[in-house]
Symmetry: C2
Amino acid sequence: MLLLALWRRLGRRSSAAGHVRCFSSAQALPSAEDFAARRREDALLGEIDARYPAFMVWGCNTDVGKTLVSTGMAAALLSSGKSQKSHVLYVKPVQTGFPDDSDARSVTQRIDSLVGRSESIFLSNRTMWLSDEASKKAALTKSSTDSSGSWKNSANSVKSSSSLTCETLWSWCAAVSPHLAAQQEGGGASDDELRKVLRRSLWEFGADASQTGRSWAFVETAGGVASPAPSGTLQCDLYRPLRLPGILVGDGRLGGISTTLAAYESLLLRGYETICIVIQDMGLGNNQHLSKQLHNRVPVFVIPAVPKNPGDDLAGWFHDTSSTFLQVVLLLEDAYHKRIQRLREMPKKASELFWWPFTQHRLVPEENVTVIDSRSGEFFSVYENKHGRFAQQFDACASWWTQGPDASLQHELAKQIAYAAGRYGHVMFPENVHEPGLRCAELLLQGVGRGWAHRVYISDNGSTATEIALKMALRKYAVDHGFLTNQGDKKPDFKVLALRGSYHGDTLGAMEAQAPSPYTGFSQQPWYSGRGVFLDPPTVCCQNRKWQLRVPERYGTIATEPAWDAREDVFALERDNTELAKIYSSAIEKEIMSSQGGLGGQTIAGLIIEPIIHAAGGMELVDPLFQRILTQQCKCHKIPVIFDEVFTGCWRLGAESAWELLGCNPDIACYAKLLTGGTVPLAATLATQDIFQAFEGASKLDALLHGHSYTAHPVGCSAAVTALEWFKDPSKNPNLLPGTSRLQEQWDPELVAEISSLSSVERVISLGTLMALELRSSSSSQKGYSSLLSSGVVKELRQVLGIYTRPLGNVVYFMCGPLTRPSVCSSLLRRMLKVLE
Amino acid sequence: MLLLALWRRLGRRSSAAGHVRCFSSAQALPSAEDFAARRREDALLGEIDARYPAFMVWGCNTDVGKTLVSTGMAAALLSSGKSQKSHVLYVKPVQTGFPDDSDARSVTQRIDSLVGRSESIFLSNRTMWLSDEASKKAALTKSSTDSSGSWKNSANSVKSSSSLTCETLWSWCAAVSPHLAAQQEGGGASDDELRKVLRRSLWEFGADASQTGRSWAFVETAGGVASPAPSGTLQCDLYRPLRLPGILVGDGRLGGISTTLAAYESLLLRGYETICIVIQDMGLGNNQHLSKQLHNRVPVFVIPAVPKNPGDDLAGWFHDTSSTFLQVVLLLEDAYHKRIQRLREMPKKASELFWWPFTQHRLVPEENVTVIDSRSGEFFSVYENKHGRFAQQFDACASWWTQGPDASLQHELAKQIAYAAGRYGHVMFPENVHEPGLRCAELLLQGVGRGWAHRVYISDNGSTATEIALKMALRKYAVDHGFLTNQGDKKPDFKVLALRGSYHGDTLGAMEAQAPSPYTGFSQQPWYSGRGVFLDPPTVCCQNRKWQLRVPERYGTIATEPAWDAREDVFALERDNTELAKIYSSAIEKEIMSSQGGLGGQTIAGLIIEPIIHAAGGMELVDPLFQRILTQQCKCHKIPVIFDEVFTGCWRLGAESAWELLGCNPDIACYAKLLTGGTVPLAATLATQDIFQAFEGASKLDALLHGHSYTAHPVGCSAAVTALEWFKDPSKNPNLLPGTSRLQEQWDPELVAEISSLSSVERVISLGTLMALELRSSSSSQKGYSSLLSSGVVKELRQVLGIYTRPLGNVVYFMCGPLTRPSVCSSLLRRMLKVLE
């Protein structure tokens, strides 16, 4: 149980001065809406005011002097600003040992005595939440905690004064780690709440103070960098979505070089910037050694040792350190300005230096360039210069369909990547073996390859994985059908059977397996000739709450085109016995037979499909029955079957691989994108032993002579191992349906159905982590890849609703990760509904 | 100044018992040869005995009880072994505060009192090196330090007894950090020496003890994981080449969760395995929280708090902890056996599951599979089951030409990769900007692109970079020569001008730019058609100490074929005015003119070359004069020029880019391999603004529609930024010639010349980080890619001399990194000489 301190808000400027603390067990936590409603509809999103400098104050251990450093910096700011008013916010989000210990009070009181007489400063110290025990004790010792706004030299008016606002957000009585205090005394400070309240403090302070002088904020953590927060989450993880730059207070004692560097590295591993280190001088020269180790890139400031006499008011110490703290704040100020300046110039520089893929640069004005400062789980932190803030945006394009991590997995991936980089960097692969490579192969064969694959060929991306798959298939076909031995001078014209609308990558070999499209024209790739026999596939989509089948005319008129209430019915194996199955089958057989010309003629030597979903082709759901029959019939003709699972594999569609949904195996399959969880490029081409044996021989020249320098790079393999294990671990993936290898439905079927019935929507599909819709177009120019129909929707989602989408022509889609909670997905869907309505 | 303790070695079994300590200022350090000569010729190489378990004992801070934990583990091993003898080695490589503090003595003395009466144990404690001060003080207080071998219950014979051998390798008197003690008291413990002596201790112990019972070793560090060693190097960096698995002693106090986790992460970041954490119970439950944070994957053992009473002999404490320490050693034993078992099974599993690139699996028997356990700088640590050891091997193939880091850069790369993974994971690139991507582009344009390039297109590997470059060149040509507007139905047959023997990657588009070769045959890639006009290039090589030019016949007979004493003369721009230049020029002009058929006919629409070196083509040095003229003439005809610098770029040839050596710029250039310093795949295609503008237009369909999912992934870009900055920083790259952007000669010209004059050697080239030689073959079957002529040389280098080479047919090469010291290169060359002689 927590008692709540009422945060009375009497308008902007007077809020600090008018602050009154009182206790009330009835009052609820100031609702999230109070904060978020200012701009956005729910608590999914957060923002950080970037218009003034705000820094974390970290310690490499407990009791290294964080509060004294905070005080010193505040004093430097408040003392030096004669010509300019300064407003300093000091936040202690979590305080234990309260009220005996109150770092916020300590800062307030010391500043009171430290800042020169001539300064006019408004001081306030408020505590927002207290545990029962803490509030009882506080009531007994009122004088020591009650310090609402007060004036130092109140002769000056509010307008011309500087101010120090100290805030403690959560307080417990026991002088132990916050997670233990919260256990003992209760306390509902979830990570989300804590971040939300902290963001609000920073935002309100900025709104109050930023126009009337220079504003600064310091957020002082509790204990060491990796000490637990009330929820048990490590503080360095808790505060990560805000990613404020920081000051690390080091340890000058024996052993302090080690604890300081280790703490620095823990911050680094989580993507924090540490601007400088401040360390007490214990006569061991730790600062010099630290500077050297950090290649002088992180300045190390040394301050005199703090006197140990408990009665000492430290006035002398603060006097001795004041010039150093002034240097510290000047450095911080400089770092802040450089950071913002860099962020501001980035769109221009990007427009000038980058050559973005798939981008007509003329259509991307500078102001449309998104500056991504960081990622935390599914969210980007985006710098918006216009608003002077860092805003959170949900990465709804899953960064070109690569993303899988939530914040926990992201950190675990960073750790395992770091370990692999530290252990191996990269090492030579052919004829060698290393643990991440072997483990990755084992997991792939036990997972996506289970029951059919025996060999793993590792490369760099989907396109190379496909080129390798094609080489495998063509060789296998040539061996099986006698084209290697009886060839003579005449070469057969090998084609692949493929579906119109499928896409396999942008290197020439992968392009050749793709039907002619805007990507393959002469102006894009003069060497493209289209080495495929391309079939038009039947597709399925949800329209007006029903799953409808669309069969191309060439298959004849289907007597009763089915429609289903539930998506599961589309995948039912019972459909193999329908009339439609026979129609598909005979059409496919005809196609194969008409293209087997043998030597010199056109010969179908392989099948390549994207199982279930044509992704780049516009998020079309291909009738699984059709693909199943296609696969089976190619196998009958000894035509090797390739499944390009670059997009569909590794849980993208709610199962580990799409062939599980299809109900039949390939001979060769390609995996990439989600394979590494969404971190670094890596691809795998899996094959049966039969395929492998087509390359066995006495000579090296029989081997598959294809490879890339970083084949099976340990960093990528480690990421893959981490991701593959994590996604299928029920203790880590809350979406795994118990006892199965399927994810629960992430997109609420009712909301999806609702969207499918909107007049502006042509069709919808949702499967696994994917929800896509095609906007209804009134003319053909609004269709296809170059359509701009969706631009309004995309702009609204991105700029107003904090959802980073990227359209495919007139198709708009949301893509989450295998770990994303359905509640988050529903929140996305509701926003989409709102926009479309 | 150090005094040396003489390490009298009286044969294997008696060495411990016969040990006598005495001081002598005259005696030199036992020479490196004493140790290394056992198997190898110099100190470049090291090995670790893998036949018994050896563990590091790390602390998260100083004074957390490492020595007590070491003692507890030793006691558990020595007490429990009634049925089996146990031999425990305890090594304290660095001791300060000696002789008052001696962790080795403390272990010896406590074991004496701890182990039960019935046990027969031989105890010895020796100290190898002492500083002047330490030895003086030790002489004064002899009783407290002198403890040569002694018996506990000597009734039993040596053969049937267990033993504890305690060794202190270096000792200083001052009770401060080792780097300060070494500064104050002197001491020559360089990192190399320290590792060498430690390796020797471990090796001799294994040789002495391993056949007569179970052996264990513990290496106890000083202070925290990142406390400095005598040289100032952090201990976690110092011991990294050995990469022993470890036990981390954590901190049970307030703040201890943070310091323990941070220390764990610092070890992780350096590629160490931490088998378990041991922590004192201070009533805060730190162990439980640590377990949770580590996902229970690293067991956390809790032991009672150590009594604070200085007089306490801790007998009671050890009694209370004995069962826990027994669990600890059982866990460690299990971890050791699992590790070795896994290492042993890896070759078989690899042979069964992997499909290695460019590998005829039938030619790779299991016993030839190299098990790479880790890398440290230029060295692999390879597990050799036959010898029961981890051996160091110099990575002389630079892992397919990717490698650049020494141990320091490897750690820095791991740090920056970790930071990028923690900060971004991966984020969407097109229309966006992030710091590592922008910085990478800036550095490329200031470096390899300076003076000519304006745009950076980022992809995943050399092959994709080439495909992109080709698309750029062909579009540019089409635009410039009116093929887009006047095309009609008839498409021109675009070809590229290329050199025979060049290689640009394994995807189809890159292959098309390659002349027919074993890689391009029908059985490898039925779709290959060879879309090039291929010229035979003149080449240069060193034969019999002279640099010789070899001009193909088609250029006519050159009156006086030049030969040069110095390689520099080959690159001299003065050669542009020679008769030879005119011959080249007219031959090239003829070729271009005869292939410009226009619409429907064959048209040369681009030039692609590997500047200077044909790498995969057999390490041929192409006459730079020829390539320079070729480039200039294509530019005259408005044929876009591509330099494929995937191999040659980023310092591989001793300059940042090969075009600097060539003396002329391309329009487009490709970089990969060394671009990330040798960590993860990343590639960049740089282009001029003219090329870029060929893709500008009103429609998205005019843009370059090519991309890969992980385009500009932040992890790769961060690695590239780190590597690019490091290589050109004189404070970090000792090979940079002052005031220039060239590396000093890494391969001693005299040794290279000597090799070139051997009768078994056909030709030699050396340039930058590359030294290659072609073995003289007596028949044509011994030439080319499938030749096995070099296998004997390669086997000797790899298995006996610790140099991991990988031949290109009958060409054997050494490739180091841009940071590798010339002394190391000379050592490699001397070994090569030895083998070839």
